[in-house]
Structure formats: structure tokens, C-alpha cells
């Protein structure tokens, strides 16, 4: 091996400066797979060939700087081995021996982070979102929640780089530089010789396992008896653990993942386990995320094993389970069974508006205030405030409802709707009545100058009840017209007056009317949750 490499070194030295011969060298080099193998071997046995390692590094540097593309790319495949050699030396405190490797790595790093014209290389990509149609999907067939969820990522760009060039490596920037180098290696990994993947796996295992494998216990180490004050030299452990960062190891996982599906399944899986063990030892959360994801995808998972086919791909037919599904699917609830209808846009706005003027006392529970005549709202403002207080519980109610539905299935929810359907006549009357009142109050706020405003009779003011009743109504389809008429008929006395009073007033009041009806209609879909409160109110009324 050493001979082969020496020849290779000599050949290149000879051809330098002679264009014709160097071209021949390039061609020959491209077709010769053995030389890379030989270099890997030398790096493995670097203790025996230290000067040779140095020469190889120099020559690889020449290659990297050469304008010939094949020569330029050649050193990239050695990046993992070079990194291991370097880190091994550094961790053992032998920085001098690693100078050659370090220089090579710095040069490749500086080369890779800059563009050809000397600028800084940046890899940018846009964050795709499902809310925008793509060549692979249309929006209409995807669940709405998915679409909305990604909207915030809109126009977001992610970057790799720009990276500063470096002159020296220290403990602070070392891992960053090596991570960047590995990223570049990963960019080129499918162009390297397949055999180099084997070395990648081996070297990675060594990187993460060094210092762990020799389970020596205490006897192996220096004794505690030695006097520390004298500063006696400490026998160093033969190979200390190599400090590695989370992001560096994540890049390694990507490289290993590639190897796993390109011919080196078994060894790559072992290496991955090694990385995972290291990750759990160091508790690098992001790394554990990645390694356990890959490990999980390797067993009992449709993603496939490396040996399932090319790149672990295989035909995954649906029928077998589908037949099961079809036979029982009638009662099976899948995620698709839930369908969120988009609520009208103005609802959340309204909630906010109204809660602004809300007093804390009025947040009291529905039941409490629903008792007829128990609490009289002293001012019109407050009564409009209570109108909103129903909104909140009902929003929460939706969640509760959804949760219940989860457990009970949709059958039950149907029952519920049935329960609610027959509204009780006396209550209905009350409903209209109180509704009018609250409208009146609103109106009185709007037209403060209007004459002969009679304050609404306090005994009728049951704002909370009003709302719960509105909700009761809401679960049926709600027609404005009929209600208007009804209302006028039932409480003719109090309602008719203001509209008669002045023409201008009647216009505004009708506006107000429609407005408030709008809101009550919007309330309708939220109705379920309040059925309890509403029922309680009913009882109160009946009694």
C-alpha cells in the first residue's frame, strides 16, 4: 500500500509543470480506484506512516487547488477520515502532529465557503407552504387546518451561510468548521466512490466510540494517591473521548443515512446505533430526535429496510388493510371524520370588541346570572357586556364539544341535536322579549338625543338568559323575518314605542336590529355548549 501511494506521489510530482503528462496523469487517476483505497489504508495505519500522511495531505491540497475538476473533487471523499485523524490527534493533545491535516482542512473549508469569484457562498431555499398550490398538490383536497397552519411560514427563507473564512482553528470554532466541511461532503457524497462509504461508517464509529469502548474501570487509570501539589505529570488515557457537537453529528447522520441505502446497510445501521448511543449519553436533544427518527423508520415501518430493494423502496400495496377498513369503516372514526368548517371571519373580532368593555364581575358563570330577576344589570353598558360573556364559555364549549365527540363518536352528537330541537314555547316568548330589550338599550346608546326614551323595565332584563335562549334558537335554522314579527306581536307595547317616536330613530333601530340579529346568528353554531346552561335557565323560568 505504502509503495502504491509513494508511486502516486512521485508520479504527480513528476508530471507537474508538463501539461501533456499531467493530462495523462489526470486520466489515469480518474480510472484508478485503487489509489483512494490505498490512501484510506495509510490513514488507518497513520502511526506507522507519519511522514507519508504529511505528504499525502500536501498532495491532496495540490489536487484541491488544481483547475482539473476530477482532481479538485478527489480530496473531498477523504473529509471524514481527515476529520477523524485530526480530532483524534487534538483530543490526545498532539496538535503538532496534526498540522498537515489541519492545514488541509482549513484550506478546503475556505475553498468551500467561498464562491469562484471570491464571494461568500450561501445556500438559500424557500420554505414551502401548503397554502400555495404546487406542482404536486392542489389546495382543495387537503384539510383546511393544514393549509392555515403553514401560512405563517410564508415567504420564509432559510440559509446556509455565509460563513467566515478562518485562519486558525481553536476550540471555539473547531466544531463549526468541521460541521461545515461535513455539509459540503454530504453535498458531494453521491459522486464519491462507493467504497469510501465503508470508510465513512468505520471512521464515524471510531469518532463516537473512542474512549467508550474500553471498559477498563478504575484500575486502568492513574491512582489517586499521587500528590497533586507536586504537579506530577499525569499519565493520559490512551484515547480520550472526542468532543463532538450536536450539529456535527447530525451531518454525520445524514452521511450515514446515505451509506445505509447505497450498499452498506448493515454496517451503517451499526454506526447509527453508535451515534445514537453517544447522543443519549451527551443528551443532545436535536441529535436524539434525528437518530431515533431514523432508527424508528428502520423497524416495523413502511419506509423499508435498506435491503428491501433499491434505496429500501418497495411496493406498498394498500388493499390488505383496505379490505379490513371497508368492512368496519362505518363506525370507525378517522381524523378525516372531523371536518372543521371555517367560522365566519367576523366572529373573533366581535369577541374581542365586546370583551373590551366587559367587567370582571360579569364573567360569572352562566347559571348564576340566568336565574330570573336575581341580578339586575344596573346600566345598559353592562347589559351589552353580558351579551359577550356568553361568547367565552361557548368558545370553550366548542373545544369541550369536540373533545366529547372524540370519545362518543358522532352518533351521540346527533342525539344532542335532537334533544335541543323542540324549544319550549314560554321560553321562546321570553327570548323575544328580552332580545328586544337589549336592542332597545343599544339603541338608546346610539341615539342619546332621542326623546321620550323609556328605560327598559328592569324586571325584564335577563341578559344572560337572553343569550342562552338565543342559543337555543340558534340550533334551529333562524329566520329573521318570523322572529321580528313574532317579537313585535308579543311585546308590542314596549317595542313599538320607540319606532313610532321618530322616523330617524326607526331607521337606526332597524339597523341595530339587523346587526344584533347578525350576531345572534353567528352565535348559533356555537350553541351546543350552552345547552346545559340554557336548560337550567328553562327550569328557572318554568318554576
Amino acid at each position: 500500500m505504502a509503495e502504491l501511494v509513494r508511486d502516486w506521489l512521485a508520479d504527480y510530482q513528476r508530471t507537474r509543470g508538463q501539461p501533456a503528462e499531467s493530462e495523462a496523469f489526470v486520466v489515469e487517476h480518474e480510472t484508478d480506484p485503487e489509489i483512494a483505497e490505498a490512501i484510506f489504508t495509510i490513514f488507518n495505519e497513520r502511526q506507522r506512516n507519519e511522514d507519508l500522511v504529511h505528504d499525502i495531505c500536501q498532495q491532496l491540497l495540490c489536487f484541491y487547488r488544481s483547475p482539473e475538476v476530477t482532481l479538485h473533487k478527489f480530496p473531498l471523499q477523504f473529509i471524514p477520515v481527515l476529520i477523524y485523524t485530526y480530532l483524534h490527534a487534538v483530543s490526545a493533545g498532539d496538535k503538532k502532529a496534526s498540522r498537515g491535516v489541519e492545514t488541509l482542512l482549513i484550506c478546503i473549508y475556505n475553498g468551500e465557503v467561498s464562491t469562484d469569484d471570491g464571494g461568500q457562498k450561501v445556500v438559500v431555499f424557500r420554505m414551502p407552504i401548503l397554502a400555495q398550490t404546487s406542482v404536486y398538490h392542489e389546495m382543495k383536497n387537503l384539510p383546511l387546518t393544514d393549509l392555515r397552519r403553514w401560512e405563517e411560514n410564508c415567504n420564509r427563507e432559510l440559509k446556509w451561510g455565509p460563513h467566515q473564512r478562518v485562519e486558525t482553528v481553536n476550540a471555539q470554532n473547531r466544531m463549526r468548521i468541521l460541521t461545515t466541511l461535513l455539509f459540503c461532503y454530504n453535498q458531494h457524497v453521491s459522486q464519491t466512490q462507493k467504497s469510501s462509504l465503508l470508510h465513512l461508517c468505520r471512521v464515524t464509529s471510531q469518532l463516537v466510540n473512542q474512549g467508550f469502548t474500553t471498559k477498563s474501570g478504575h484500575g486502568h487509570r492513574m491512582s489517586y494517591g499521587s500528590d497533586p501539589a507536586t504537579g506530577a505529570t499525569f499519565p493520559k488515557p490512551s484515547s480520550p473521548r472526542i468532543p463532538l457537537s450536536s450539529s456535527f453529528l447530525i451531518e454525520l447522520v445524514h452521511a450515514i443515512y446515505f451509506a445505509m441505502f447505497n450498499g452498506y446497510g448493515t454496517i451503517a445501521i451499526q454506526t447509527l446505533d453508535d451515534i445514537h448511543n453517544r447522543a443519549t449519553y451527551e443528551m443532545y436533544t436535536e441529535l436524539i430526535l434525528v437518530t431515533s427518527a431514523v432508527r424508528n423508520s428502520l423497524h416495523a415501518n413502511p419506509s423499508g429496510q435498506p435491503n428491501d430493494g433499491p434505496m429500501g423502496l418497495s411496493v406498498a400495496l394498500t388493499p390488505a388493510t383496505n379490505t379490513v377498513t371497508t368492512s368496519v369503516s362505518k363506525s370507525m372514526i378517522t381524523n378525516a371524520s372531523f371536518r372543521t368548517k371555517k367560522l365566519p371571519d367576523d366572529i373573533p373580532i366581535q369577541v374581542q370588541d365586546l370583551t373590551m368593555q366587559q367587567n370582571p364581575q360579569q364573567l360569572a358563570s352562566v347559571i348564576e346570572e340566568a336565574e330570573p330577576g336575581a341580578k339586575e344589570s344596573p346600566s345598559t353598558k353592562e347589559s351589552s357586556g353580558t351579551r359577550t360573556s356568553i361568547m367565552r364559555p361557548s368558545m370553550e364549549g366548542i373545544k369541550a364539544q369536540a373533545h366529547k365527540a372524540l370519545i362518543a363518536g358522532f352518533k351521540k352528537s346527533k342525539d344532542k341535536e335532537k334533544d335541543k330541537e323542540p324549544p319550549k314555547p314560554p321560553q321562546r316568548k321570553f327570548d323575544k322579549h328580552t332580545q328586544r330589550n337589549s336592542l332597545l338599550q343599544l339603541q338608546s346608546e346610539l341615539n342619546s338625543n332621542s326623546n321620550a326614551e323609556q328605560p327598559p323595565p328592569p324586571s325584564d332584563m335577563l341578559p344572560m338568559q337572553t343569550l342562552s335562549l338565543i342559543n337555543e334558537n340558534g340550533s334551529n335554522s333562524f329566520s329573521i323575518d318570523s322572529d321580528l314579527n313574532d317579537g313585535l306581536g308579543v311585546v308590542a307595547g314596549s317595542v313599538a314605542l320607540p319606532s313610532i317616536n321618530s322616523n330617524t330613530n326607526s331607521v337606526t333601530s332597524s339597523e341595530v336590529l339587523t346587526k344584533s340579529f347578525d350576531s345572534s346568528i353567528e352565535l348559533a353554531p356555537l350553541g351546543h355548549s350552552n345547552s346545559n346552561g340554557g336548560k337550567l335557565a328553562e327550569h328557572g323560568l318554568v318554576e
Binding site: 400555495q132 404536486y136 392542489e138 387537503l142 458531494h188 487509570r221 443528551m283 394498500t318 362505518k330 372514526i333
Partner: protein, 859 residues
């Protein structure tokens, strides 16, 4: 009876048969054929064909063609169908124009029986290769698509090995082209089918979505329509029709795989893209999930950055081809929309595919927990976790943990008891620095994996590092230790128990508690070192423990071990320097710090120690330079982070980016005076909330910690200015600090120091009182207050304060010295002598900064 007017009826029957054929109602076809036969005898041949077809198809529907073991049975079951089809082949068949179809069906039949060679012969007889593209009926389209698929599969299964390399390549290309045609035709068929069935049964579904099926529920006013995916009426028959059949599905998935097998990676990717670009149909939903996932897998596993080519750009005519001037009849329709998102590079395409796959997979997950759905549930769960795993792999590298987070959050709905999802969710929350939320999820994960120490350890670390609930963290660590399997691999459970005990000891104010905790901590850490002799962290904490117990020789020994195990470890070097100062070797300590700063030029803690050492060595001028450098470093490291918070966040967190994680954690725990313990920091937090409610005070933007750091730097600078006798400059520094956050006890203390320098004792006393009020455990302020009391002639108060201080920090010689002076002034000379003696004893082993000033470290 229909026999009467059969002439006119025949065409009607034929039309009926045709529609039944395309809908796959085979039994009905057989019934109708009888009618046809009786109607017109010359249709004998056609009838034979139809019966044969119907029998073949209904057999295949009932018996899935899967394993070879079925071939014998299939032969028996299909003999009847074969007879009929053979009958249809004759001359009359040629005349009726059904011979071609009959040959194709025979080929299918042969394939079902495992007779690959005869099947291929039939294709040759049907002249499949020479067919011209023309409009086809639905049924013919399906037959043709399946024929190509079967031919491809036959070629693949063919046992006879091709004689030469050339022959093999020829066969491969033929096989590939068969699969490609099959996939194109298959998709086209499914699209046509959707159109036809959509128009015929429009009441059943609209817009080709399987989602809005149950109309009855939707009529209600509820905002949540909960409906079954499959309509209650006619579900079974409809469902069968919806499926494309095993042959077509196999062919569709097989096409790219065959391409990869023959080494044509780019073509395979392109094939996936073409299939995914075709407009989806009801039948292709699960197929699309598989294809999106597989394309993402291919891109992640086999295509590295440099050989990647973005979709639909390689062919120059790609876009015009889609436009449709030269509309291909046998190609599926494609997605067309203005402003389509088209991926430009690998990352975009992978993430896009995975997002789509996620949406598809999540939709099919099963929420029912009852046992009869177990299989379906597991299948759906497998699909969705496969996508999550790939998504994890693709996004974490770019620091998109947030995105991952949201995905897992959504997954919880259907992941009851799924330990993998829960753990990944917890991890992603931890990575996204949502600490308390992460702890909750980890608690669930701990329950789900009762034998795994990892989630316990993670929870423990969260408690120590971020939530400042040491006691809880210690509980988790002990739980992890219990779960540990001895001797398998080293783990840090024991170490974490030690760290917890140590922190408890530091925090407790009662002497008895403290001693007990110290003892437990020492034991735990000793054991940790024994368990894993190569762990520098265990050695570091053991050394720190000895230092806290004032056993400096042992501490020095262990810090040397730690450094031997890992030379470049900033906290180790930090502790080493402090230990050297405690051994009266400050110059060596300065050397250590300066060397350490070569390796960690931006480490503010080391710089802080350096400045203090320089002050200690009466070299205030250089200390000034050091502190100024600290400010510069602060600006470099944090300023960009604070201004461009949003952007920078993705930067620093992303895998390949700037700061590696140890540095990150550095940043986060960069509290120079770590004496600010949990309780204190809570007080400070409350104060800062109070402060932010003041109208005059505006909170600085960004996270709190960098700003607190800056305060500390300013205060250090003020200290330095006092040493070089520039109190005005010192006041300016304090002013700067209080601009950031006025209520820090350290600022109050420092202001007191300036007043002391100016001999304004009353003001100084007020400042110290404020500092002690803000933080009753700040021993330095207590000592200074005591000293001020003494000067103001209030020795009893001074004694009280100093005794409190001594209780908090019994190892500080300055407190004992001050107490001695107080006792002296009170005339209690024996006590004074004792105090002075203690002070003298402690003085040589006192570090320039307390050992607790080194922040917690976990790496």
C-alpha cells in the same frame, strides 16, 4: 318481457353492459349477456367474450392475486373464463373487433395463473407494441393500462435469463417502457373514471373529495360535522370501485423502482414527479401518500446536493408540453394553476413532499381505540410515523424544530400511548426551548417507556438547567438511576443525582441541611466517577464538590483528571484557575485563563475571571482593557441576536450554522454571578415584572439573559473604575446598567460601593439596605451593610448583619474579619480573636471569585 322489441333493445342492452363493465358490476354483466344472447344470436362471440371477461374479473376481485401458492387454485377457478375467452378469439372475434381485447384478457388470465411466457405470447398476438394512440372507452383504457402493467410484471418475473448484456438492456428498456405506459394510462383511466362516476352519481360526492360525504350531518348547524368517511348507503360497492386494483397499483409503484434498479436514478425521480404531477383522483389518495413519501426518500437517500436537478426543468419543452398544443391522448392530465410553487432545490422539494405526505397521512389516521380497529389504526399510524421520521430528518438540520413541534402537536390527537411520537414531541419541545411544556410531555413519555432512563434524564436536566426546580430534577435523576441497567453502557444518571444534591446544598441556608446535602453529593459524585472513569464531567463536578467543601488538594487532583480527559473544556479551565487562586497562585491562574482564552476567545466568563485576577494583582489598567474587550465581545455575540431576533434565531439554531451547541448553552447559562440562585432569580423576575409596569421603564427587546450579562459587565467596569479612583466614571457605568434594568440588587450594591468610596456613609447604607431588601441572600451586600453600620457607630446592627452573612457564606475571610472588628468595638475581645483567627485561617484558601460563580454545565 323484453324479447318483443329486441332489435331496438340490443343497443340499449349493449350500452347498459358497457356502463356495467366500466363500473365493474360483473354479475350484472353476466345477466345482461344472457339477455343479449337471446336477443340476437349473431352476438354469440361477443357474449362469450363478455362472459369470459366477467368471470375473470369477478374471480380476481374475490381472490387477490398475490402468492405463487395460489396459482393452482387460480388455474382451476379460471378454467371456465379461459374457455369463454378462447371461444371469443376465432374469426368472428376478429370481425366483431374484440379479438384484441380477448388476447389482452387472456394474457391477464395467464398472469393470474403464473404463466408468464404464455402471457407474453398473448401480448405479441395482440400486437400491443404497435397500438396507435386514440380515444378509448373507460373499460378499454383500463384493460390497456393493465395489459402494459402485466407485460412489465411478466418481463420482470420471466425466469429465462437473457443471453447477452445487450439483450438484457433491451429487455430492461422494454420493461421500463411498459411500466411507464402503464402508469400513464392507469392515471388517465382513474381520472376519466372520476369524471364519469362523478357525473353519474353527483349526489354522492362533489368535487372529487372524499371528505364531504355525509350530507345529513352537514345540514345541521353545528360547526363540526362529524361524519364517517364512507357514506352509509351503497358503501361497499362504491368502495370496491374506488380501488384501482392490485395490478395497476403495483405497476404505478413499480415503475420508478425498476428504474432505480437499472441505475437510472434521474429518470426514476422524474417518473415519480410525473405521477405526482398528475391530477389526483379518489382512487389515488393512498397511492399519492406512498409516492410522495417514496420520492422524498429517494431524494434523501440517494440524491446529494450536487447531482440534484429541479423538477420539470431538464426538458426545455416541459412547460409547453403541459400547455397542450400537442396534447397527448395517453397521458394523464396535470396540475395546472397560475403561480404554482415549483421547487428549485432539493430542500424545497423534500420538505414540500413531506408536508403533503403529512397532510395525507394525518387525514387517514384512526382515532377509534376499540380493538377491532387495531390493525387499521396501526397501519395508519405506521404511515404517519414514517412521514414524521422523514420530516424530522429533513428539517432538524435546518433548525426547523418549530415546524416539527407543530406537527407532533397535531399528532397527539391520534397518538394515544404511542411512545415514539410522545418522545419525539418532548425532544422537539426541548430543542425548541419550550422548557416547561417539554417537561409535561416528557412526564408522559416517562410513563410510556417504563424501562428507559433517557426521558427521566432529560426531564432532570430540564429541571436543573432551565426550570430551576432542583428538587424535582433530583427526583427524576434518581428515577433514571433506578431504571439504569448496570454495566451495559455508561450513563450520566449517577452524575445527575450528584449534581442535584450539590445544587441543593448550595441553595440551602440551614447548616444541617447543607452539610447533609454536601455529604450525599460527594458520595454520589464519587460513585459517578467510579462508574465511568472516562467522564470529564463527573471529574469536574467531583472537583467542584471538593472545592465547595474547602478540600483544595483533592479538588486540584480531580480537576487535573478532568483536564486530562478533556483538555479544552472551558468550565474545567475556569474552575482550575479559581482553584489556583485559592492556593495563592494567582499568576499561574492568570496564565491558565490566558491560555484558555486562546481556545475560547469569546468566553465571557473566562474574561470575567481574567479581569478579576488582574484587579487582584493590582493591575487595574489592564483590567480596564479586559472589561472593554468584554463589552466588544458582548456586542459581537449578542447584538445581532437581539436586533434581528427572528432571523438570527433560525441561524444560531440551525444545524450547519454558526454556533455549535456547546456555545449555545454557554450563552444561555452565561450568568457571571451564578450566586444568583433559583430563589433569587425568581425574586429578580418578580422585580423585573414590577419594573416593567412602571411607566418610565421600558423593557429592552429580546431575551433577558444577554441584557443581564451586559449589566454585569457594566458593574465590573464600575468596580475597575473605582480601583483606579475615578468614581464619576464608575457612576456613569452604574447609570448605564440601571438603564437596562434598574432594580438589580447588584446595581444597588455597586452604588453603595461608590458611596463608600466617597465616604458618604448614610447614602451607602441606604443602597445596601435596598440591595439586601431585593435579595436577602446576597452575602456581599450584607457584609458591606455590616461594615457601614460599624462605621456609623451601630455595632449591634453590624453584628447582626455580619452574622447573617457568615451564615450564608461561612468560607469568606472578609466577613469574619469585619465581624472580628465589630466584636472588638463591642469589647468582646475573645470573640473578636476567634473571628480574626478564622479569617486568617480562611484567607489562604479563598478564591478571587466564589466557586459557585461557575454556571452549571452539562457538556
Amino acid at each position: 318481457m323484453a324479447n318483443r322489441n329486441m332489435r331496438s333493445n340490443t343497443t340499449k342492452v349493449e350500452a347498459l353492459i358497457e356502463s356495467c363493465r366500466s363500473e365493474g358490476k360483473w354479475q350484472r354483466v353476466i345477466d345482461l349477456t344472457d339477455e343479449l344472447k337471446t336477443g340476437s344470436p349473431q352476438n354469440e362471440c361477443l357474449a362469450n367474450f363478455l362472459v369470459g371477461e366477467a368471470r375473470l374479473e369477478s374471480y380476481l376481485e374475490e381472490n387477490a392475486l398475490v402468492a405463487e401458492s395460489n396459482f393452482g387454485r387460480a388455474k382451476a377457478g379460471l378454467s371456465e373464463a379461459r374457455r369463454y375467452l378462447n371461444l371469443a378469439l376465432g374469426e368472428c372475434g376478429q370481425k366483431a373487433g374484440i379479438a384484441l381485447d380477448a388476447y389482452l384478457l387472456l394474457a391477464k388470465l395467464c398472469f393470474a395463473c403464473g404463466e408468464y411466457e404464455p402471457s407474453l405470447d398473448n401480448f405479441i398476438k395482440a400486437e400491443l407494441n404497435t397500438l396507435a394512440e386514440k380515444e378509448l372507452t373507460l373499460r378499454s383504457l383500463k384493460i390497456l393500462a393493465e395489459s402494459y402493467a402485466i407485460k412489465g410484471l411478466c418481463l420482470e418475473h420471466q425466469t429465462s435469463k437473457p443471453s447477452s448484456k445487450f439483450k438484457k438492456a433491451e429487455k430492461d428498456t422494454e420493461m421500463i417502457s411498459c411500466f411507464e405506459r402503464a402508469s400513464d394510462l392507469g392515471l388517465l383511466y382513474l381520472q376519466e373514471y372520476d369524471i364519469v362516476s362523478g357525473s353519474s352519481s353527483s349526489n354522492n360526492s362533489t368535487a372529487g373529495s372524499t371528505l364531504n360525504v355525509n350530507a345529513s350531518v352537514q345540514q345541521s348547524n353545528s360547526s363540526f360535522a362529524i361524519s364517517s368517511t364512507i357514506p352509509a348507503s351503497g358503501a361497499a360497492t362504491h368502495e370496491v370501485n374506488r380501488r384501482m386494483g392490485a395490478i395497476l397499483e403495483t405497476a404505478l409503484q413499480r415503475a420508478p423502482i425498476v428504474l432505480i434498479k437499472t441505475g437510472k436514478l434521474q429518470e426514476a425521480v422524474e417518473r415519480y414527479r410525473i405521477m405526482l404531477n398528475a391530477i389526483e383522483t379518489r382512487a389515488t389518495q393512498s397511492l399519492r401518500l406512498t409516492l410522495t413519501r417514496q420520492l422524498a426518500e429517494v431524494l434523501l437517500r440517494g440524491v446529494s446536493g450536487t447531482i440534484y436537478a429541479p423538477p420539470f426543468t431538464s426538458k426545455s419543452g416541459g412547460s409547453t408540453l403541459r400547455g397542450g398544443a400537442s396534447k397527448k391522448l395517453w397521458k394523464p392530465r396535470k396540475y395546472q394553476a397560475r403561480q404554482q410553487f415549483s421547487p428549485r432545490n432539493q430542500q424545497e422539494e423534500v420538505i414540500l413532499l413531506l408536508l403533503i405526505a403529512e397532510a395525507l397521512a394525518v387525514r387517514d389516521t384512526v382515532l377509534s381505540q376499540s380493538p377491532e380497529f387495531k390493525q387499521a389504526r396501526q397501519h395508519a399510524m405506521g404511515n404517519v410515523t414514517a412521514v414524521y421520521d422523514l420530516l424530522t430528518l429533513a428539517t432538524v438540520r435546518w433548525g426547523l424544530v418549530q415546524l416539527l413541534n407543530e406537527s407532533f402537536e397535531k399528532a397527539l390527537k391520534f397518538s394515544f400511548g404511542e411512545q415514539h411520537v410522545w418522545r419525539q414531541y418532548g425532544l422537539s419541545l426541548m430543542a425548541a426551548e419550550k422548557h416547561s411544556h417539554a417537561l409535561r410531555v416528557l412526564q408522559e413519555s416517562i410513563k410510556l417507556t417504563p424501562s428507559d432512563p433517557l426521558p427521566c434524564l432529560l426531564a432532570s436536566r430540564l429541571c436543573y438547567e432551565s426550570l430551576e426546580t432542583v428538587k424535582q430534577g433530583l427526583d427524576y435523576a434518581q428515577q433514571a438511576l433506578k431504571r439504569e441497567i448496570k454495566g451495559l453502557r455508561p450513563s450520566r444518571s449517577q452524575l445527575f443525582v450528584g449534581i442535584g444534591q450539590q445544587q441543593l446544598a448550595i441553595q440551602s441556608n440551614l447548616r444541617s441541611d447543607r452539610d447533609a446535602c454536601h455529604k450525599l453529593a460527594l458520595e454520589a459524585l464519587e460513585r459517578a466517577v467510579q462508574n465511568d472513569g472516562h467522564d470529564h464531567l463527573a471529574e469536574y463536578y467531583l472537583s467542584l464538590q471538593y472545592a465547595l467543601l474547602n478540600q483544595l488538594p483533592e479538588a486540584l487532583a480531580h480537576i487535573r483528571f478532568a483536564l486530562a480527559l478533556r483538555m479544552e473544556h472551558a468550565p474545567c479551565l475556569h474552575l482550575f484557575a479559581l482553584l489556583l487562586t485559592a492556593s495563592r497562585r494567582p499568576r499561574e491562574a492568570l496564565g491558565v485563563v490566558e491560555d484558555a482564552l486562546h481556545e475560547f476567545p469569546d468566553n465571557l466568563q473566562l474574561l470575567h475571571v481574567k479581569a478579576h485576577l488582574q484587579l487582584h494583582l493590582e493591575d487595574a489598567e489592564t483590567a480596564l482593557a479586559t472589561v472593554q474587550h468584554m463589552l466588544a465581545v458582548w456586542r459581537e455575540v449578542y447584538e445581532a441576536q437581539l436586533t434581528g431576533e427572528e432571523e438570527k434565531h433560525s441561524d444560531t439554531k440551525s444545524g450547519v450554522h454558526l454556533v455549535h451547541s456547546s456555545q449555545m448553552s454557554d450563552k444561555d447559562s452565561n450568568s457571571v454571578y451564578a450566586a444568583s440562585l433559583a430563589a433569587v432569580s425568581r425574586v429578580e423576575h418578580a422585580l423585573s415584572e414590577a419594573a416593567s409596569s412602571l411607566s418610565s421603564f421600558t423593557q429592552r427587546p429580546g431575551p433577558r439573559r444577554p441584557w443581564m450579562l451586559q449589566i454585569e459587565i457594566w458593574l465590573l467596569l464600575a468596580d475597575v473604575y473605582l480601583r483606579i479612583e475615578q468614581p464619576n466614571e464608575a457612576l456613569n457605568c452604574i447609570h448605564e446598567a440601571s438603564q437596562i434594568y434598574p432594580l438589580s440588587h447588584q446595581i444597588m450594591y455597586m452604588r453603595g460601593q461608590v458611596h463608600v468610596y466617597l465616604e458618604q456613609w448614610r447614602d451607602a447604607k441606604q443602597c445596601y439596605l435596598n440591595a439586601v431588601a431585593a435579595n436577602p441572600n446576597h452575602s456581599e451586600a450584607l457584609r458591606a451593610l455590616g461594615e457601614t453600620h460599624l462605621i456609623l457607630g451601630e455595632p449591634r446592627l453590624a453584628e447582626k448583619m455580619l452574622k447573617d452573612a457568615a451564615k450564608l457564606d461561612p468560607n469568606c475571610p472578609r466577613i469574619w474579619f469585619a465581624l472580628g472588628k465589630v466584636m472588638e468595638s463591642l469589647g468582646d475581645f475573645y470573640a473578636a480573636a476567634d473571628c480574626f483567627a478564622t479569617s486568617l485561617q480562611l484567607e489562604p484558601s479563598c478564591p478571587v471569585l466564589p466557586f459557585t460563580s461557575i454556571p452549571l454545565v452539562f457538556e
